[in-house]
Structure formats: structure tokens, C-alpha cells
Amino acid sequence: MTNSSNTVNRRRSVITWRRRLMPYLFVAPNMLIFLTFIIWPAIRGFQISFFDSIDGRTFTPVGTGNYRAIFGDPTVAEIAKNTAIYVIFYVIISTILSIAFALIVNEQQFAKGFFRAILFLPVMLSPVVVGLIWNDVLDRKVGPLNALLEAIGGGSPGWLIEPKLGMIAVIFVGVWVHLGFYSIILLAGLQGIDRSLLEAAAMDGATRTQIIRTIILPLLKPTTLVILILATIHGFQSFDFIYTLTGGGPFGATTLIVQYIYDRAFQSPIQYGLGSAAGVILFMIIFAFTALNFLVGKKRQAI
């Protein structure tokens, strides 16, 4: 009896140990990739930020010189302002529109799949291609948008040559690219709401607006928080489609912090250390905003 009991205990112990180990084994490949391609380069980037290098092979230690150079660079204030404007408008517009589209698509009965696919389509396009396409569309003299505007007497706005219009253009395209992605996430959140609550409210005479305002939106808060966090991160990280759309122009009006990093690190004269230092600063900004979003969201949920 003792022997068989010991055997059973040993088997249970092995099973428990396996069960404990199993989740780690499942995430191990992903973690390995994450460590290799995200964490390790991030550590190296942080390290390089204390060096000067024009070729990525020879490094001269400069202490905090790169950080001091960034904060002493007069163009950085302008870039910070551009980034702030872009992120604020991008996050607000993306969040509002994605909630609106998710609500519309959720209610839709006719050709549901088709409209969801259309909404999601821009997400599947390469951001570089998106920038190039919109660059053609927004061309002042031969772009189809201005051709349309001229036909209805709207003139020929210089979307790509007027600083304010340039910023409006990149915000619009940024929202257009990500809207489908955010809407699909919110749609999943909407479909998770217990329909009996909505039916009960309707039976009690609540209007559609009241249902949305008092039931759907509060229940959608956790998903909205995710959208806010993702949009903030995407906003700060925006670069690829902007680079092909405006190249940071006109007159630097759409140069955001990631392009500042790119220009320092990859445009002549190359300064890898400066680029890395700017990357570290960007990481800290995104981390701070994400933590703030998360904490505020948690606090509101607790209330």
C-alpha cells in the first residue's frame, strides 16, 4: 500500500510539475524571439546611446553627450510639438471613429462580412504603399482629390506643401490605416456585451442613444482602454507611411520623433549614438503614457 501510494504521489508530483512547466514551454519560443529581436537590441540601443559612432563599427564614448545634444537641439522642440499634435488628434479621432464604426458594423445585417472586410482592408496594406498611394491622391496639381475639389469649386489645396494641411493629411492617413484594426477589436468587445442587458433597457423604454451612452460605452471601457493604449503607442511610433507620404515635410511640419531618430541614425551625417539616445527617450515617453493610460483606466474601472 505504501509503495503504491508513493508511486501515485510521485506520478501526481510529476504531473503537477509538467502542468507547471507546460505554459512556460508554450511561450518559450515566442519569448526567445522576443528576447533576441526586441529586448537584446533594446539593451544594445541603450548602450550605444552613450557612444558616438558614424559607421556602427567604431564607437567613441561620449557619456550623456548625445542626450545633452538632443535637448540642446532647437529642432527637437518643433518635433516634440509636431509629435504631440499628431498623437493627440490621432488618438482622439481614431478612438471616436473606431467606436462609431464598430457600433455601425455591429448593427449591420446586410453584407456584414463585405463591409467588415472593407473596413479592415487598409490594415493589410503595407504602410509604405499607403504613403505612396496617398502621396499621389493628394498631389496638388494632378491628384484626384484636388481634381474633385476643383470640379466642385473647392480650389487646389496644397496638401503636401502647406505645413498645416500636411499635418491634417498625415493624421487623416494615420487614422485611415488603423481604423479597421481598432474597430475590429471594439467589435469583439461589443459582441461580448450581454444582449439581455440591452434588451432589458429597450423594454424599459431606453432610446438607442441612452443605451449606447449608459450601457454600451461603460461596458466597452476595458476594450476602449486597450484602443487608447494601442493608439497612443502607434501615434508615437508613426513613421513609415509618413516618410513615404511627406518625408517629414513640408518644412519639417510632419517630422515626428521616429523620423528624427531615423534621420540621425541613417541620413548623412550618420550619428548612431544620437539616434539611439532619441530612441531611448521615445521609449521612456511611450512607457510613461502607456502606464498613465493604464493607471487612469484601472482607477476609473474601480470607481
Binding site: 556602427g56 502621396n135 515635410g249 518644412f251 541613417f266 551625417p269
Partner: protein, 441 residues
């Protein structure tokens, strides 16, 4: 017909002028040298089954097709394999820098800015001999000569010359004669007249680079760096202001495509598509465009001489072949460079892709282009007329890109009325001083 006859005569005349010009400027006189060097049996044995990578970009399909054919022949000849990495020009240098930093250097690369890669370059003299450099035009080898050891670390693959193209059909429609000589005032007037007559969007377009603008500065007698690595812009700043003003005024007045310059931030951009779309009658670029324009233009176009102010002529440029010292088979890499820059291979490439030769023997012999020979003659003529001072900036190969880029960005600021032309040139003087100071570190 009259124009064609004139051009043919010009083609013959400029070949002679070019050769005479090169000799007069102190470049090596024409001497046929050994080419078609065959690998030894020992080399063939060592190279069999080896692979080298060739980092490459192309301005035209003809360049790519010819390169592929040459690689196929090289593989047959050596038993080695060449992996061709075709990279878009926009991200060419950043991608190569990243590869080098990551320890993933190609064996051989076609380069626009060899100055970036001096430390990584293979000493070609070790494999190809000290006399090998003399096979190429001396002016062209400046950028691929090691600044301290003075050894050859690359090969000039083609000589490029900046200059204008015109849409002949649009000029004819407007009743404007195809120019055989002109100055900048006449160029602008012709552009405006053709624009007005044809209703084109623009009168003029130029590649968005400081390199191309340097040509205009050279016409007015303004230069940035001399052969002794000195900042010479202060001595010619008023001339530089004139040149820069001409170009920026065209953009400010919407006579040139502002979207393409102002609307592309810090990126390089070329108005090739605008010229092909017949939105401008004049396109200022260089001879490397001939192959693409020949293939894609649905109208009659022509290369015309550079405008002449104090000087005429173009602005030197070109592409280079370089082997990297990180190559695991440096002898094979060096041989591949030698093979591509061989007389026969270079002549084939020059003919197919409308390149200007860099080999002394080919310059002397003259490349017979099957088509567009009049256009190539114009560029050859302008190459010979290019002032010696234009080569000065090549004495600082590591600084050419930042100096050109800064000029480009300052011009963008002028177009946006953020600074005046005078302020821009003053800033460029300060920038060049700061860049030259880095050489002393």
C-alpha cells in the same frame, strides 16, 4: 532634320573634344591596357562552388538586365555563384550601413557614395596590382583612392554628367527652338514660354539633390570645397546666391514642382515621372536617365547642353564598384570587380545602359551607342567642359553627402520663406567649416 544633322556633327566633334579635354586637364592619356584577365587554374579550383554577394541598385532596367547577363557569364567563367541583392536607391546607403554594422557585409557593391565605406573597402591593389588604377580616368578615381594610403579601394564604374533634358515635342509645339547653347535666363524664359504655350503644369524640374544644384553653382563660378579640402564657398558666395536664387525662385513661383521638393521632406526625389508625364518641358538630371527615358517616354526628348554663365559643362559624378574587406573570398571579390570593369564588360554596359565610360581605353576608343548617340554626345561634350574646380569636392569623399544634403535642406527653407538666400549660403559656409573640422579629429 536640320537638328538631327547638327546633332550628328556634334556627336563626332565632341568625341574629339572629350579626349582632348581629358588630356588637357592632366588625366592619363589613352593607352589600351590588358583586359579580359583570365583566372588561373589554382584560382578556378579555389573558387569553384564559392558564393559572393553583389549589393546593387539600378537606375534603369537595362542596367539590371545587363548585370544579370554578365553575372551569368562570370559564373560560367569561374564556377562561383554571385548572389545579386537588388536594393531600392532610396534606402541604399542606410541598408548597407546596417548590414555592415551587423557584420553582414556584401562581397562587392555598386556605390554612389564610396566615401562612407573607406574603412570597409578592400585594398584592390593587393589583388589587381598598383598599375590597375591607371586604367581609369584619374579624375574618376579620386573618390575611390584611400585618403591616407592613396591605394585604390574601388573602381569608377561609370562617369555621370548632370545636364538638362527637354521635351522636343513641347518645344516644337510652342515654337521654341531646341537650344544648342543657352544661359540660365534663356533656359527659364524658354521653359516659361513652352509652359504657357502647351499648358503644362510646370516650366522646369530638377532632381532634389545638392549634387544637381552644385552644377548650377558651378555655372556661376561658385564652389564649396577645393582639392585641398578648403571651404571655398566664402570666396564665391555671391555667385552661389545667384545660382541658388534661380532654382528656388522657380519653385517659389510654382514654375517647378513644389510638391516634389517641399512635399518630400528630407528625402531624395526625382521628377522623372513628371517629365515622362509631360508636365514639364525641361528636366535637369543627368545621363543615367537616358535609358529610362528612351524606354518610357512617349514623346521626342533630347539632352541639351548645360546653360553657360561663367562656366558651362556639367558636374562630375558616377558610380563605383567596391569590394569589402570582410569578404571571405577577397580574391574572388576583387576578381569580380575586375571582371565587371573590364573593357569588354564596361563597353557592353555603357552601350546598353547609356553610361559614360571611366576606362581610359574606352574613352580613347569612344563608345558607339546604338541609339541616342546624340544625347550621349551632349553629355560627353559637357563632361569635357566641366571646370577642374568641380572635382574639388571629391577630395572629401566622406563629406560630400552631408554637404549636398545640407544645401538641399537649406534650399527647402528658402522655398518656405523661412530663410533668405543670403542666410542660406551663410549657413552653408558654417556647415562646411564644421564638416571639414571633423577631418582633423
Amino acid at each position: 532634320m536640320k537638328i538631327q544633322t547638327l546633332r550628328s556633327k556634334l556627336a563626332i566633334a565632341v568625341s574629339l573634344v572629350l579626349t582632348a579635354g581629358l588630356v588637357a586637364t592632366g588625366l592619363p592619356s589613352a593607352q589600351a591596357t590588358t583586359s579580359g584577365l583570365l583566372p588561373t587554374a589554382a584560382q578556378l579550383k579555389a573558387w569553384k562552388g564559392k558564393t559572393i554577394s553583389y549589393y546593387f541598385y539600378n537606375d534603369s532596367q537595362a542596367e539590371l538586365d545587363t548585370t544579370k547577363a554578365q553575372i551569368a557569364d562570370f559564373e560560367k567563367l569561374t564556377g562561383a555563384t554571385v548572389k545579386l541583392d537588388v536594393i531600392p536607391f532610396t534606402n541604399y546607403d542606410p541598408t548597407l550601413q546596417a548590414r555592415l554594422a551587423a557584420g553582414n557585409a556584401p562581397d562587392v557593391a555598386r556605390l554612389n557614395n564610396p566615401g562612407f565605406y573607406i574603412k570597409d573597402a578592400l585594398d584592390l591593389e593587393k589583388y589587381l596590382g598598383r598599375k590597375y588604377a591607371a586604367e581609369f580616368l584619374k579624375g574618376s578615381t579620386l573618390q575611390v583612392t584611400h585618403p591616407t594610403t592613396k591605394k585604390l579601394i574601388g573602381v569608377p564604374y561609370d562617369l555621370s554628367v548632370n545636364g538638362p533634358f527637354i521635351n522636343v515635342d513641347m518645344f516644337k509645339k510652342a515654337g521654341v527652338a531646341v537650344p544648342t547653347s543657352w544661359n540660365w535666363t534663356e533656359l527659364v524664359a524658354a521653359g516659361k514660354k513652352v509652359q504657357k504655350a502647351t499648358g503644362s503644369e510646370y516650366a522646369f524640374a530638377i532632381d532634389k539633390t545638392g549634387h544637381r544644384v552644385s552644377t548650377v553653382m558651378s555655372h556661376f563660378g561658385a564652389y564649396m570645397v577645393d582639392k585641398n579640402q578648403k571651404n571655398v564657398l566664402p570666396t564665391s558666395k555671391f555667385r552661389a546666391e545667384k545660382a541658388v536664387k534661380i532654382i528656388t525662385d522657380l519653385y517659389k513661383q510654382d514654375l517647378a514642382p513644389r510638391d516634389l521638393w517641399v512635399g518630400t521632406g528630407t528625402k531624395y526625389s526625382s521628377p522623372t515621372a513628371i517629365f515622362l508625364g509631360q508636365q514639364t518641358p525641361i528636366f535637369f538630371s543627368g545621363n543615367w536617365q537616358v535609358a529610362s527615358l528612351k524606354k518610357d517616354a512617349k514623346f521626342d526628348f533630347a539632352a541639351v547642353p548645360n546653360p553657360k554663365e561663367l562656366n558651362g559643362g556639367g558636374w562630375p559624378g558616377g558610380k563605383f564598384l567596391q569590394a569589402f574587406n570582410a569578404s571571405k573570398t577577397p580574391d574572388l571579390a576583387a576578381y569580380f570587380v575586375h571582371y565587371l570593369a573590364d573593357t569588354a564588360q564596361m563597353e557592353t554596359m555603357d552601350k546598353n545602359a547609356f553610361w559614360l565610360p571611366t576606362r581610359v581605353d574606352l574613352v580613347a576608343k569612344g563608345v558607339k551607342y546604338a541609339d541616342r548617340s546624340e544625347d550621349m554626345a551632349v553629355f560627353q561634350s559637357d563632361a569635357a567642359k566641366t571646370p577642374a574646380a568641380a572635382y574639388g569636392i571629391q577630395s572629401v569623399p566622406t563629406l560630400t553627402a552631408p554637404i549636398y544634403n545640407n544645401l538641399r535642406d537649406l534650399m527647402t527653407d528658402i522655398m518656405g520663406n523661412k530663410i533668405t538666400v543670403k542666410e542660406a549660403i551663410a549657413k552653408q559656409i558654417v556647415f562646411i567649416d564644421a564638416q571639414l573640422a571633423t577631418l582633423k579629429k
